[in-house]
């Protein structure tokens, strides 16, 4: 397992959000996390990345306990996040956003940005444009590319389809499937659109009230009624 989460708890002030989450992710695997709003999906990701402190339990990444490490240390070890709402730097150009991404891994290895841009041809003519002037879809692609420029071992995506046009969602799925077939990039995808999550994931964890309530196959997720 590249990531092992054991009995993880977290919350905001006195309000508990995660109540003992345990799961593992194998190297090269894509695990989907599906659940309604307010069930703790984003808090799970922010706790894994260290934005939100764990109040109980442990996070082991690539063999090391990272539970108490600062966010930047986790990022340098290879944990990457594509946050909800993209959160690109609006005043920086697309190229500068990518350079910020590559800086996360502690250096600017020659050719990384060019290599990543090959996966996102749509971004090539936009490199000198400031992030705030890009469309929502272009920003989402930039956020993905920025994360990949940091050379993550695991990439976590939080609601990547939110507010994005259908054809770019297809582009994102195709890019990620292509990437997974060529590298051993591990993915965790938090998403509410079942079709999107099913198209990408090897298995899907269902979250309810801060807990993993079940694990299903992607085809089972598509057939599920609204029980969850």
């Amino acid at each position: 397992m590249i990531l092992t989460v054991a009995d993880l708890a977290s919350g905001y002030g006195r309000i508990p959000i995660l109540n003992g989450i345990s799961f593992g992710v194998a190297e090269g695997e894509c695990v989907g996390i599906w659940g309604h709003n307010g069930m703790g999906k984003t808090t799970l990701l922010t706790t894994l990345l260290g934005y939100q402190p764990a109040t109980r339990g442990s996070i082991t990444f690539a063999g090391d306990d990272v539970t108490r490490l600062a966010t930047h240390s986790r990022a340098r070890r290879g944990m990457g996040l594509v946050p909800q709402g993209r959160q690109i730097f609006p005043a920086l150009t697309a190229a500068e956003n990518l350079r910020m991404g590559s800086a996360v891994s502690g250096g600017h290895r020659e050719g990384v940005i060019e290599e990543i841009l090959e996966l996102f041809p749509r971004l090539k003519p936009l490199l000198s444009r400031t992030g705030g002037l890009l469309s929502g879809g272009e920003q989402q692609l930039l956020a993905l590319a920025r994360c990949l420029c940091g050379r993550p071992k695991i990439m976590m995506l939080d609601e990547p389809t939110e507010g994005i046009q259908p054809s770019i969602n297809e582009e994102i799925v195709e890019t990620l499937i292509g990437l997974r077939s060529r590298t051993r990039l591990t993915l965790i995808v938090v998403e509410q659109r079942r079709e999107f999550i099913a198209a990408l994931s090897d298995r899907v964890l269902l979250m309810q009230k801060g807990e993993i309530s079940a694990e299903v196959r992607p085809d089972e997720l598509l057939k599920m009624d609204e029980l969850y």
Partner: protein, 245 residues
């Protein structure tokens, strides 16, 4: 001369931000009581178009007429007073107030105390949250919050409601109920709905206007739009208007 039935009419509407032509040459009209869906790629100009209708942006060229009144020179609150309500994706509720208190405050803006009571109760019935009238908004699920946001808009008794991605982040059931709510509200009020979720569009739309690169690419019945090759090329991708990734 504008037809009496037109609630919204734009003529050659355009706006640019520096060198970026965000909206250009848009001739759009909406009848009283009509429900129109707007779709198009991210950055196609849909949100800017909404902002032109509400007066947040002033057009570089062209005109907007709402219910017979040209809005040139009007402030946003004056345009709202023409009967334009908008629900964006930015939360506008008071979390520590109850559902009914939020609705009442909206109704009270233009009405006396007793009338605001009546309108708040009416809005509660419309959004089918009477059972949650005394619940603090902070305790509601995402879908319920969105319905209260809609309730706040309808408590202002608008003639036209602009909705920006009302189904975003909703579950299947919530989405169906939101579609039902939109159809209910549309019985008394015209609506323009921007949405990327094609399944949701099919639940509510009759006529769809497609924006691309700041212009209207096409406008037609929902089935024709979703099967149009140009719309697939610029927006839908390979899907055939069925599954939304």
């Amino acid at each position: 001369m504008m037809s009496a039935a037109k609630l919204v009419e734009t003529k050659d509407l355009g706006i640019h931000f520096g060198g970026l032509q965000a909206v250009q040459g848009v001739n759009f009209s909406l009848n009283q009581g009509e429900l129109r869906c707007l779709i198009g790629p991210n950055g196609a100009g849909k949100t800017t178009f909404f902002r032109l209708l509400t007066g947040v942006h002033k057009p570089s060229v062209g005109s907007v007429t709402i219910n017979g009144t040209p809005i040139k020179g009007l402030q946003t609150h004056q345009i709202a007073n023409l009967g334009v309500g908008i629900k964006t994706q930015i939360p506008s509720l008071f979390d520590n107030l109850t559902v009914r208190e939020n609705l009442w405050l909206s109704a009270r803006k233009r009405n006396a105390h007793a009338e605001a009571d009546r309108i708040a109760d009416e809005a509660l019935e419309t959004i089918k949250l009477a059972h949650a009238a005394k619940t603090e908004v902070a305790k509601l699920a995402h879908g319920q919050r969105q319905w209260v946001e809609l309730g706040v808009v309808i408590a202002g008794h608008p003639k036209l409601i602009l909705l920006d991605e009302p189904a975003a982040g909703m579950t299947g059931h919530e989405r169906e109920r939101t579609a039902e709510l939109i159809r209910d509200i549309n019985r008394t009020c015209a609506m323009i709905v921007v949405e990327h979720d094609m399944e949701f569009i099919k639940m509510i739309a009759k006529t769809v206007t497609v924006f691309n690169r700041g212009e209207v690419l096409m406008e037609d019945a929902v089935d024709k739009v979703l099967s149009d090759q140009r719309v697939k090329d610029v927006y839908l991708g390979k899907q055939t208007g069925g599954v939304t990734l």
